[in-house]
């Protein structure tokens, strides 16, 4: 078990990629506190699933965009399980639409959740990890930060900022042996990507050299690696996990 007895927090944990990361971390021996915003049924089912598999997970309801709530969740996790070792900022939303028609609230909610949530949870744990002189922060970005499609100015901006934030924070925390990395998933088969997948159909698979959509578990495996001792010398990096999508090759 690569994460035995580690305490991990995973935001946006009840569904999609986050859910995959929670299950993978628990299977590797971590105690996983995951954050969900509203879908309690999904959260409860995940706790049940992890528990049945012999792992430890607990759900915490919280809006990641709220700084005070982030602090409270981290305190609650530490009161129950002790110091946090791993933070995965995965919570994210999309409000796709062409920029000229984008409402300010569609911009704001994406920035405040994706980027603001990452800030809030990093802010809540960074000094704690620094004091432990070890720790892992993993931010879930997106290939959309670098290879964007029309209708995602808000999402692309939030993810591009997460990449820059990841590098900048990595430099600040490196002296205390805390690593900060990001994972940039491509098309992953989740609820969030459903609309795009439905619209694009088989075209997506033609754009992906590995000829299949990604699964949450593909991202979870990368997240386990970056959280593990094996990744101790990696910091400030954005690891693209997209089946080769971002290479820009056209299927022949």
């Amino acid at each position: 078990m690569r994460l035995k007895d580690q305490v991990a927090i995973v935001t946006g944990g009840s569904r999609g990629i986050g859910r995959g990361i929670v299950k993978a971390y628990a299977a590797e021996g971590a105690k996983v506190a995951f954050i969900y915003k509203g879908n309690q049924a999904a959260a409860d089912s995940l706790v049940a699933e992890v528990t049945q598999a012999g792992g430890i997970a607990k759900a915490h309801q919280c809006d990641v965009a709220n700084h005070d709530d982030a602090l409270k969740v981290v305190e609650a996790v530490e009161a129950e399980w002790g110091p946090v070792n791993i933070l995965v900022n995965n919570a994210g939303v999309i409000r796709d639409g062409l920029f000229v028609g984008m409402r300010p609230e569609e911009w704001n909610v994406v920035i405040q959740t994706n980027l603001g949530g990452t800030f809030n949870f990093c802010h809540a744990v960074a000094m704690k990890l620094a004091r432990q002189r070890k720790g892992r922060i993993i931010n879930i970005s997106s290939v959309a930060a670098e290879h964007t499609n029309p209708g995602q100015t808000n999402y692309a901006a939030s993810k591009g900022a997460i990449n820059s934030f990841t590098r900048a924070l990595a430099v600040e925390l490196a002296g205390r042996s805390v690593t900060v990395n990001a994972i940039a998933p491509g098309f992953i088969e989740t609820d969030m990507s459903e609309n795009v997948r439905n619209k694009a159909g088989d075209l997506i698979k033609k754009m992906i050299p590995l000829k299949r959509l990604g699964q949450p578990d593909d991202i979870a495996k990368a997240a386990v690696f970056l959280a593990s001792a094996d990744a101790a010398y990696i910091t400030g990096q954005v690891l693209t996990v997209d089946g080769g999508l971002s290479l820009g090759a056209v299927a022949v």
Binding site: M127, A130, R131, R133, E172, L173, G175, R176
Partner: protein, 130 residues
């Protein structure tokens, strides 16, 4: 109010925790950066720990001011702090012993003012005002 020796003891213990150094390495004249290896994040950590340890509030840039000489171009000339700059230093950091620094006031040596003794004097002054 605790004695200077008691304050020094607590400051030393704080630095042991914050900088991951041995107690024996800490002397009153030890400089935080040069002798004890402090990096930028460590200065914040030290401030947070001192606030908790002594139950005081340490305003940003008071104990470890970052930009003392930014207000006036006359404070520094050719990489050296001018007499005007030294006056500013005395005003902003009355708890620092600048007697050695003023003999050769190279700007790059400013971090040598941040010593264990300096923190102790700062805390002493703070507690006297409470």
């Amino acid at each position: 109010m605790p004695s200077q020796a008691e304050i020094y003891q607590k400051v030393s213990a704080t630095l042991v925790d914050a900088l991951n150094v041995e107690q024996e390495e800490i002397k009153p004249t030890s400089t935080l950066q040069g002798d004890l290896g402090a990096e930028s994040i460590d200065f914040l950590d030290i401030v947070f720990r001192l606030e908790r340890e002594f139950g005081i509030k340490i305003p940003r840039n008071e104990l470890f001011p970052e930009s003392i000489f930014q207000g006036d171009p006359d404070f520094v000339q050719n990489g050296k702090v001018t007499s005007k700059g030294l006056d500013e230093l005395r005003t902003k950091m009355p708890f620092a012993d600048i007697s050695k620094f003023e003999k050769n006031p190279e700007l790059t040596a400013i971090s040598d003012l941040f010593t264990v003794e300096m923190i102790t004097k700062y805390i002493e002054g703070k507690l006297a005002k409470v």
